[in-house]
Amino acid sequence: MVEFTWLDYFWTFAYLILMIGCGAIFYRLGKRSGSDFFLAGRGLPWWLPATSNYATHTATDTPMWFSGWVYAAGLRGLWYSLFTGWCAISAFVSTKIFRRSLAGTQAEWQTLRFSGLGAELMRGWLAGWQFSMCMFIAGWVGIAMGNVCHYAFDWPLWWGLVLFSSLCCLYVIAAGYWGVIIADVQQGITMFLVIILVSVWAGIAAGGPTEIVTKIEAMGRGWMLNPFHFTGWFSGDFPIMWLITMVAVPFLGGLGMATHFDWFVEAQRIQSARNIKDASYSIWWGTAAVIVRNSIWAFAVLAFFVIYPDLTDQSDYQLAWFRIGFEFFPVGMVGFFFAAILAIHISTVAGVLNLGSMYATRDLYHHYINPKASEKQVVFVGRLMTVVVLFGSFFFGLMIGEDVTKWLLFALWLMVAGTWLPNILQIIWWRFNAWGYLSAWVANLGVCWLVVWVLPAFGILTDLPDYVQFWLLMLLVGVIYLPITLLTKPDDMDRLVKIYVQTRPIGFWGPVRKEAERRGLLRAIEMMDLQAEMEARKEAGNGMD
């Protein structure tokens, strides 16, 4: 149980006031329009969404699962954390394409990329799916906070879940995405500083870097310091096939959209950037901050391992990073550490509340229920939906309980296995249509539960390693959506030409490009560009005069 001094209480309350204050300050901007409430007016310089990316992806559960991996697997656990690597390629491929589409959400993208009833069904499906997923994510992040407060203050799990997410909801309701993004900047800076401080304190407590290495080697576990220590091609805990999956899936996933569910959060940041370059930079540098954070965390977790080498229960060692802060920080700094935990927690919950509300408002209410809604009505419904997502998160959070890591692996990895390839195909293959995509999403949902939970529970299928499950799910779902794609009509050529000219996707778009050229659309754009360039040069010349 952690004891707070008056200075600790000061840090905690000061920080809460600062965060909620952001909502009050940006209240006027947030209520101007739907575009402001959900995308901050689409005019942000790259470093704002980049910091928000980093802050949103540093949640209360993140140090838990990360500690769990590194404590058990050593530096090999870093490969798990590279699932964020999809941003490496996405920043220069799908981010550019999505930014040019100007779609506010991934659901909206469906009605731009596809045509007809299939497109509308996909939009409705994705909007409902994401609305629910945002509740789920806010729930598991919230229950992680419940676990931290239970460890630190012996509170019941639901106190930590309900209290801080509700406080966070206040500024999201007030200022929408403006509040989220501005709070994320100060939260991102605070948490990065504290992550460095915790690693420094952990290093000192464990005797310094050289001593940590010596002690780990003396325990006969030198392999923990080698991220390239694998156990053969297919056998053992960390076979090379696992590594290939770990690298190929996220990085190649960057060619597509929605290959990881982080994409949905990033999509909002991409559209809030002021232009294509800023969108690309925000994705790349936000994730660069995430990978740097992971390496700094790994040092703290291995220092913790040296201090407490005999923990065998995952629910104990997944709290490694939190325990360093609570047990080793000096008096007065513990409150600052807790304030940083609040920053970590609230930045993610805020982003997810606003995102879930955006899907419910823009894609369900505004698109289907009330297309003639005024900006005032859109903002009002946005606020209302923020509260709905909050209450939904309480339900999911209590369902997840203490086993945060297990749920995360399922959600991060396997729930997207069947749609991984379709998410790439929608970008690189003109013939992939809405019916193929819709069937992939529906089939994945069923097949995923069958392969991971139901069939093993009945002894029909053995428990497979996660990387084998991934490829199996991809194949099984492929057997369903590929025939459906080829047996149904391609999307309307007008729609395909329009999205091609606007977004310039890569890959197999030959017939669409040919049609765009036949209609003179690419030539027309070239002429517009040349004219604009000549005008710019003329203006520059006048300026010189």
Binding site: V247, N275, K277, S280, I296, A298, K372, I525
Partner: protein
């Protein structure tokens, strides 16, 4: 480095080129090398210094290559964005069509 093009018109920058390939191939290596290199560096491992240094060098090179292209694409697209946004709002309010 004459084989890397750094002067683009907006229309030329729209087309996929070897500079895009360079960015797409080097970018994952940059992430992997920085992650592993920094972690090992914090434990004062010589391999870490090498991986981190190579990771940083790759990152600098990658942005040196791709930045002019991204700048050209952005400047061109911003001029068309207003019209595209107007069309997007029409799709959003489909009942009015």
């Amino acid at each position: 480095m004459g084989w890397i093009r750094r002067d683009w018109t907006p229309h030329e920058a729209d087309e996929w080129s070897k500079e895009d390939w360079i960015a797409v191939i080097l970018s994952p290596f940059s992430y992997i090398l920085i992650t592993m290199g920094l972690a090992l560096t914090l434990f004062l491992q010589p391999l870490g210094y090498i991986l981190l240094a190579v990771g940083i060098a790759i990152t600098i090179f990658l942005f040196w290559v791709i930045d002019p292209k991204l700048t050209a694409i952005s400047s061109e697209y911003e001029k068309k964005q207003r019209q595209y946004l107007k069309e997007l709002e029409q799709i959003q309010r489909w009942e009015e069509e």
